[in-house]
Symmetry: C2
Subunit: 417 residues, 2 copies
């Protein structure tokens, strides 16, 4: 299938992808769009032309600040809209050829947070990441905690501070333990207040809940896919020094909630269908409510780069893959709801840091620099153990197979002092 | 000051209180109300009569599913509305005497969740509770963790499963470690899937954010009160067995997010003003960003009772007080935002379990029954270590001083199997 829109061979936004996002441009206020090549198809404008009127998708749903109302229409409707757009963009006789006003250049549009996030949950589902952290902070010979292989460990994050790619992030201040005892406050167990000196990224993917589930009603692994609308790239910014002092016994808090960045385009699970692969074998066998059948992992190549200030030379510091996840999304959702916890459309469930088996595939500076002991040299000759002020961190994700390419674009964020 | 509305001497809803809530009654759909005696003043109806037109409070803000839009008007407006109502209800020549249609009996109204909660945070700010838990699960001689006296430990909870008083809660199922090794799955470190056998309440209070703060901008302890609209009683239902297995290292998750219950009436900080008291001395001295001046604790008597199924005999199992809190609300809010975390109107920040110094003031069954080792005998002769199916747990909160009485009503919830 090809589009009559010119699409560069390296574009993430092919006719096979068609992700949904929220944009504004010129005098057009925020509304729904679909990315195609370097263009955005203005769905509010297409709806006004009547192209979705037969699909049970009210026109006003496309003229909106968030995707939530559209997603809540349900997969039969949202898939029908996506397929209609695929037809309109691939048909050589497409009526849209007479409507240049329904396209905007991505370079001239502003992207906004795609979903209004009710609740955001972060998992810890990469066995390589959990093992690395366990080796560094606990027992190298016994890196995984006893519960890790029995359930997808997760915790609640802060929804208010989730921002769209391109939003600057301020380096947080907070309580940290001094590396050397401070004058007047002796001992290494007395905290000081300072700017975080160990600011880090976490390479993650997150999925968007597409279907509500009521309180008290679990979602099984078999039902889970029906509740997942699509995915984004997720950078779970972390202040390691703040986190380390605060997190016992109730988990991460201020070390995480100063900001998380998401990519603006939500790639649908339908677009990701060709990239299903088997996940790692799970040993010991999981409890019945976590068992599943079929391929539930996805082969999505991930890349993280750092761009120093006043410099265009970005350096790739990690190449990982979403297929490495030990716990898959269906298991995460089944676990999250097995106690009756309810889900709302737009809730975000993130994977946790996605590290691969090799050092060049680790998904955080904590692991890449091994707690700061192995500095990374960037293309401009400077070194990094953690992220410095005015550094920009960029994450990309793209799936490719048999000539079909489906990408997420990127999520980037610059750290301000 | 007295009201011309007859108010029973034991009512929580005196002319000094005037808490805000969301109710529906008969053909009146959800709207804002104020509790007075055993009545509700219908604020949407009062607004329609024009009584708030001079107060910069648009009529439509009172005809709403949640308090958020009203609260977002800011304290100058919300206080003015409350004082206007106080005048209207105390003035013997009140024009409302000619408008019986603006009153509804509480017994004939349905109360709804008062605020749309964006994010919910739970603290752990009672030193007695943290000490009890530390004694039970860690080292009795060293019960408090090193960070506890330096910062108000907190974590993010689930907003979607916060429900209003009266909502039944289903006993959650989940992974727990067996007390005895299970056939075929030997060893105490292999979990089983079952209904929670250690379902508990947590006696808490929560405050409602009244003023937004942007990402990157901390709120100081001095500014904090300006950001706090009011308070509710909060029952943070907990499944101890699920929690114990899952919570390392990222904190509570499924052991908590199956439901939290709030009282329907939000008592304003202005109504609580007479009940300010000094908090416990904090040793060691806190870091400057957590220091404060003035009385920041509140003397609010708290009570928890259990009512067994098919039985009217409720038994009080705890009498505690909000004044025991080691960390006050201003410190909690300053800490939460010191890293730049943003706050939105309607966010809920809960205290953590409020235990007092004596055994009869412990705020959870975990502590009251000391991990199940000391059963409590109820009025009907049955015993409890944790909460059984069809038990109803009721929490009440009331402040009283110099003849002025300000109460929260109650939060109750029944456990279904």
């Amino acid at each position: 299938m090809n589009s009559w829109i010119p699409i560069s061979p390296d574009s993430h936004f092919t006719i096979h992808n068609l992700p949904f996002g929220i944009f504004s441009a010129g005098r057009k206020k925020t509304r729904l769009g679909i990315a195609i090549g370097d263009q955005i198809l203005d769905l509010a404008a297409v709806a006004e032309l009547g192209f979705f009127d037969d699909l049970a998708a009210p026109r006003k749903v496309f003229d909106n600040d968030f995707l939530n109302d559209f997603i809540a229409l349900g997969k039969p409707v949202t898939n029908a809209v996506r397929l209609r757009v695929q037809n309109l963009l691939s048909d050589e006789n497409s009526p849209l050829k007479n409507h240049p006003e329904v396209f905007e250049k991505q370079s001239e549009a502003v992207m906004h947070l795609p979903v209004r996030v009710g609740d955001y949950t972060d998992f810890y589902s990469s066995i390589e990441h959990a093992t690395n952290v366990g080796k560094m902070f606990r027992d190298p010979a016994n890196a995984l905690l006893p519960n890790w292989r029995h359930l997808p460990v997760g915790y609640h994050g802060r929804a208010s501070s989730i921002v769209v790619s391109g939003t600057d992030i301020r380096r947080p201040s907070g309580q940290v333990l001094p590396t050397r005892p401070t004058a007047g406050r002796e001992g290494a167990d007395v905290p000081v207040f300072q700017k975080s000196a160990r600011l880090d990224f976490e390479l993650e993917m997150a999925f968007v809940i597409g279907k509500e589930s009521p309180l008290g009603q679990p979602i099984s692994t078999a039902e889970a896919e029906d509740h997942i609308f699509g995915m984004v790239i997720f950078n779970d910014w972390s202040a390691r020094d703040i986190q380390q002092w605060e997190y016992v016994p109730l988990g991460p808090f201020l070390g995480k909630n100063f900001g998380s960045s998401v990519s603006p385009w939500v790639v649908t699970m339908e677009a990701l269908e060709p990239f299903r692969v088997a996940g790692p074998e799970q040993q010991p066998a999981v409890l019945p409510y976590l068992s599943f059948s079929g391929n539930k992992n996805y082969d999505i190549a991930l890349k993280v780069s750092i761009t120093p200030p006043q410099n265009d030379s970005e350096t790739v510091v990690s190449r990982s893959n979403f297929k490495f996840m030990y716990w898959n999304m269906c298991q995460q959702l089944a676990h999250h709801t097995v106690n009756g916890c309810n889900m709302r459309v737009g809730d975000l469930l993130a994977s946790g840091t996605i590290s691969g088996p090799t050092e060049d595939s680790f998904g955080s500076m904590l692991e890449i620099s091994w707690m700061g002991t192995k500095p990374v040299t960037l293309a401009d000759g400077t070194t990094r153990t953690f992220i410095l002020d005015n550094d920009t961190v960029t994450m990309q994700a793209v799936a490719e197979k048999d000539g079909v390419r489906v990408g997420f674009g990127e999520v980037l964020g610059k750290i301000l002092s």
